[in-house]
């Protein structure tokens, strides 16, 4: 069939019915504290990588929790694992450990 020059824009909307939470389940078994975040943003405020790039660890964490994994592996490369985020976290989320494991889980599944 002849293709015309129209395309349908992909929706920006998250459809939670289509989300596969297996990567989140894997992470929360290794780092249970990942689940107790209350999105205060102290991690992002103190983050060194955030000062010079669009790296936002709070947002990455929220995206991961909603099963929105696209582009996260690339984003997470910007982290230098200094661990300041983990030091400032009021809920004692082991974010540094979460980042290491998110990287591992995301790259493993991408292969």
């Amino acid at each position: 069939m002849r293709q015309f020059g129209f395309s349908i824009s992909q929706t920006r909307s998250i459809d939670l019915d289509q989300v596969d939470f297996s990567r989140l389940d894997e992470l929360k078994n290794i780092v249970p504290s990942f689940m107790v975040c209350m999105n205060c943003g102290a991690c992002t405020a103190t983050c060194s990588a955030q000062q010079f790039s669009d790296f936002n660890i709070r947002k990455i964490k929220t995206q991961y929790m909603q099963g929105q994994y696209d582009g996260l592996a690339k984003q997470l490369e910007k982290c230098m694992l200094c661990g300041k985020c983990t030091l400032v976290c009021p809920r004692e989320v082991n974010l540094r450990n979460s980042i290491v494991n998110m990287r591992r889980i995301l790259t493993k599944k991408n292969k």
């Binding site: 920006r12 909307s13 459809d15 939670l16 249970p32 999105n39 709070r58 947002k59």
Partner: protein, 335 residues
């Protein structure tokens, strides 16, 4: 012995009656046919999951007192100042003359049908927190077709913090109630996905914040910041909801088996009515106290006192404390 009229046999009325009856004669008026009607349909109370019926029983036992005359099915229609006395008029036109009056007419639940876009009363899969409490109490958490729900969604601030409903105020208990109910649902349904949609989580009380943390850590309750704008039914009678995840800045949709609306507290009809008749009507139909800090049980009328959730949304322990303080203030006044 002096005579005191207390209007409303909820926790505030019963608690203050039991204290005041030590030195006075108390007439306790109740509009409905039973006392404590707002407590007895609850399952467990936050934050310690103590049994609501046990607390109701304990309160009920305080009514066994020769100085308390409980009058069920006796609505008070008017309260009039009569020199140094007060005249209380019931619905049958009978007059009672007393030295002091305590109004404990309490709250009522926001009628969720007023938020038509959320589908309560239209779709069976949409329930209120009061319905949910009953479902938990009788261990019958089911969706619209009596199946075990796979996904349960709680929505905060229904009828609170909402100009459209005419209620700007925060009802203050719904946040922790949703967390409590979510934990209870998790205990009944280990496999379900449970979400709470919130605007702010106001964990103001002792152990509330800890309960919130526990719900995330131990019970896998997922929190999404955003208000559900509308709910509709799918062909298989699930509930389709739309919201924005405001922490990500993207719109979101999902289908749920059960949507639980966390309805707020409003002034009860009796509170609104008596507030206006006695000239102590305040904002949103709640009664107004003399001053907010030091005279919070007194009103601008001498000998007319108020206690409990007829003043503002309150938890049961707030209400009990307030009832005790009212009893103390009234005893002083009658000396």
């Amino acid at each position: 012995m002096k005579k005191i009229a207390i209007i409303g046999a909820g926790p505030a009325g019963i608690e203050s009656a039991s204290i005041l009856a030590k030195d006075n004669e108390v007439l306790l008026f109740e509009k409905s046919t039973a006392v404590l009607s707002n407590i007895i349909d609850k399952a467990y109370l936050f934050p310690d999951f103590s049994s609501a019926s046990e607390i109701a029983d304990k309160l009920n036992s305080k009514l066994i007192n020769d100085n308390i005359t409980l009058m069920l099915n006796k609505e008070v229609v008017d309260i009039v100042k009569n020199d140094s006395e007060w005249k209380v008029v019931d619905k049958d036109g009978k007059n009672y003359f007393v030295s002091a009056v305590l109004i404990t007419t309490g709250y009522q639940i926001f009628d969720a049908r007023r938020k038509e876009e959320l589908g309560y009363g239209i779709y069976k899969g949409v329930v209120t927190s009061i319905d949910m409490e009953r479902m938990i109490r009788y261990n019958q958490v089911v969706n619209s077709i009596n199946e075990t729900p796979k996904r349960v969604v709680f929505l905060q601030c229904v009828g609170s913090r909402d100009e459209k409903s005419g209620n700007r105020y925060c009802s203050k208990l719904c946040c922790v109630t949703a967390v409590k109910q979510a934990i209870e649902v998790r205990k009944l349904l280990p496999e379900a996905e449970i979400y709470i949609f919130y605007m702010d989580l106001r964990m103001w009380g002792q152990h509330f914040e800890e309960l919130y943390r526990e719900s995330q850590e131990k019970y896998d309750i997922r929190f999404v910041r955003g208000r559900i704008s509308e709910a509709s039914s799918t062909f298989d009678r699930k509930i389709q909801i739309k919201a924005e995840d405001t922490l990500l800045g993207v719109p979101m949709k999902m289908t749920a088996d059960l949507l639980v609306l966390m309805v707020g507290m409003e002034a009860s009809c009796g509170t609104k009515d008596l507030g206006v008749k006695c000239g102590i009507g305040g904002e949103y139909g709640f009664v107004k106290t003399a001053t907010p800090h030091l005279c919070d049980n007194e009103t601008t009328e001498q000998g007319l006192f108020v206690a409990g959730s007829c003043k503002r949304p309150m938890t049961i322990n707030d209400v009990i404390n307030d009832a005790r303080s009212a009893a103390c203030v009234i005893s002083d006044y009658l000396k």
